[in-house]
Amino acid sequence: MMASRRILLLLIAILLLLLFLAVPGVSWADSLEDAARNLARKIAAALPAQQGVAVEFINSSTLSAAQATQVRRAIESELATLGHRGSEGEPSIHVRLTENPENFLIVVKFQSDTAPQVAITSVPRIVAQVLGQVPSSILIEKELVLDQAGGILDFAPVARFDDASPALVVLESGRLAVYARRDQVWELYLSQPLPSQKTWPRDARGWIQSRGGQIELSMPGLYCQKGLEHDLLWHCIDSASPTSVQALMRSHGWRGLGEFFETRNFFKAWRGWNGQWSDDFYYTASSLSGGSSRQVILAGLDGQATLYTYHWETRKKIAGWGSEIAGITSKCGSGRQVLATRPGDWTVPDAVQAYEIVDGQAVVVGMSIQFAGPVMALWTSEDESSVRAVVRNLKTEHYEAYRLTISCGK
């Protein structure tokens, strides 16, 4: 028994090592700069020795201004190293950053000592890039955690993983992926298919949480646990148990019970007080405050959120909210806010606004925070001090994972 376990652990270790070795050590940003330098060497080879150059630089791509500046600096510094220092006057080298579906391109037109020339190099589009904090002085603060081409349902940061690198567990549409952070870039460390061959709704939602070396995963009709590192086995409870929907509900900040239709994107709520399922269907739910004043808000299919008392008496209909809502605790105001998206579909940029419930009314608190695409999911963290947001950026067509917190501002 012990021997077979050792063999299993050895096999897993080899698998992890192979996966690690398969991950390129050079970051994408390095590749872009390397490509720019290589192109500069090609240009230099075609120029008369020591000829001064004036560079015109245009960014027609979706690369950021900072990334474009990196490219420009790489070209100019490489040219200078090769004896072609910057000069004043009419541009003699025209650089344009462009893109096609597959690549970013650096296209250069320049005059060699014989004729006009064109040089082009390309770098594949980014797969997963880094992150950085987006400082904000407004009430809701957002921190970009991950930006990647593939879909994200949810994500769970892990402080230390394996070789002590920070890690990120990402629930994607068909798999669970573990990214380790090295050199400011998330690199894919491990991926595993989801432990179910169910057909999910087209706008599938899923929630994960990392706790004590365990990953919890919940999707409509499915609840699973597995060890984070060397345990490749899932332990799942299928749809017969309400655990999965409870987990989903809890992750919006509501500890009530709902029942999801597996092939739809909505649920019925269990009205525990009168022991009945709701007649209406809902997309999301969030609880407010505690004790006897506990209230719950459910976002309905009709585009309106409904505020209920603990005993499921309707207190107020709230219009103007999107379908994603999540509760959050803070040290500001009443100490409990609800974050809600705007109405709209997946074709328009979205925003998240914080609200407090005062005398049965939803009151806006602070400014909304804008995103470059629809917010696909909002999930309340386990300690309810933050909310995870997944955004589909309409410009880059990437998925972005954010951590939202409430700051009291000044």
């Binding site: 597959e102 087209r202 029942e259 269907f281 299919l301 109405p343 579909d345 009314q361 917010v375």
Partner: protein, 465 residues
Amino acid sequence: MVAANAAATTRPHYGGTLRIELRASVASLDPREIPGDRVQAAAATKIYALVYDRLVTLDEHGQPAAALATSWEYDGAFKRWQLRLRPNVKFHDGAPLVPEVVAEWWNAWHGPDQTASASGDTVTIQAGKAVPELLMELAEGPRFVFHVGSDGVVSGTGPFRVTEWQTGRRLTLAANEDYWGGRPFLDGVSIELGVSSAQQMIDFELGQADLVELEPAQVRRATQGGRKVWSSSPVEILALVIDAKSSAVSDARVRQALGQVIDRAAIANVLLQRQGEPAGSLLPQWLSGYAFLFETAANVEQARKTVSDLSPAPGPITLAYDGTDALARTVAERVALNARDAGLTVQTVVAGASGITDVRLVRLRLGSVDAARALEALVKAMGEQLTLPAGAAGDPEQLYAAERGVLESGRVIPLAYVTDTVGLGPQVRNWLPLRWGEWRLPDVWLDPSTGESRTSSSSPSGTPR
């Protein structure tokens, strides 16, 4: 306090029927019978994609992504491909998607140089010669997987199943409840075929159609009344193709002058109502990334000088266009008008009406979202030769050199790129097509709070769980 504005939600609603009108009269739902005509083929491909799936699809960046095949492997020579099939997928007639069926489908399409065999949950394709582009071939064109039942009916695995088919006139589809990609939000789709542009516009304005095709001249009118207009990236090219046997344009300087004198900006802005772009190259900028390197601005002075230097003066040039395409006619007339500024005489004729033509105005659709494949297909369709060097597919610099080589002959003169443009009714939500015009109707939903009450919340029968 909360603003009480229109009720709408970010998460989609289920229910409702999307009403579409198309100009084409697609004659068959059998994906083996893809029409040869440009307009018919484009419409047929859109319809087939609702009923059938491909083994491989394209993601937003035009890269192969899993569809009925979830993963694949190939040998170093690109001759042996193994595709693992998605489990638990069924055709609309209830038959399971199994490797044996896919192998049979493949072998019916291909000769002995590419044979498929089934094993376990995989299909292995063995080719006589290297097929490095197999995934793109599977993801584009008419490679829809189907299964012929014992009754002879062709079934797909797509997001919608056929409920009514009046050949060439009307198609009604219902959501495939068991679709592997998740049940579509719409309950159904109805497609009226063979509807003229004018009639589509009327139905659109009266709220009797949710999705119609728009001509450039209709765009401004369509945006009135809360309706939306969507345009793809350019997916067609208008170009002049010189007849190799023509004596009127055998002199390269005449062809050069004709290319220089055309006001492409006016064609794009006025005739295409900005639903297109001036073209100096064959591939549009979004696909190649380098199209801006090709000149599109007119140089009337230079063209006039070139023509005036010719001795003897060039004779009249006959320009043929497709008589069924109103846009082609107006563009041909504009070319003739511009040519006069350089001292060239261009006579426009309907293609086929005259036996002798010097130049043809062609309107061609991009055959691929892969730049190299698209360039090869365009050049071939124009009757020209293009041999891409090995490695050109992944090297924009080589592709640029190859394209410049084709255009420097002057036998092809690009004029403008044209987009696909559709009008969308106020209820239509989640209109998220791919930039090259491929629709994604399973994601579309209808907002019941907007417009007339045609939708109802669709819920599965029985108790949840």
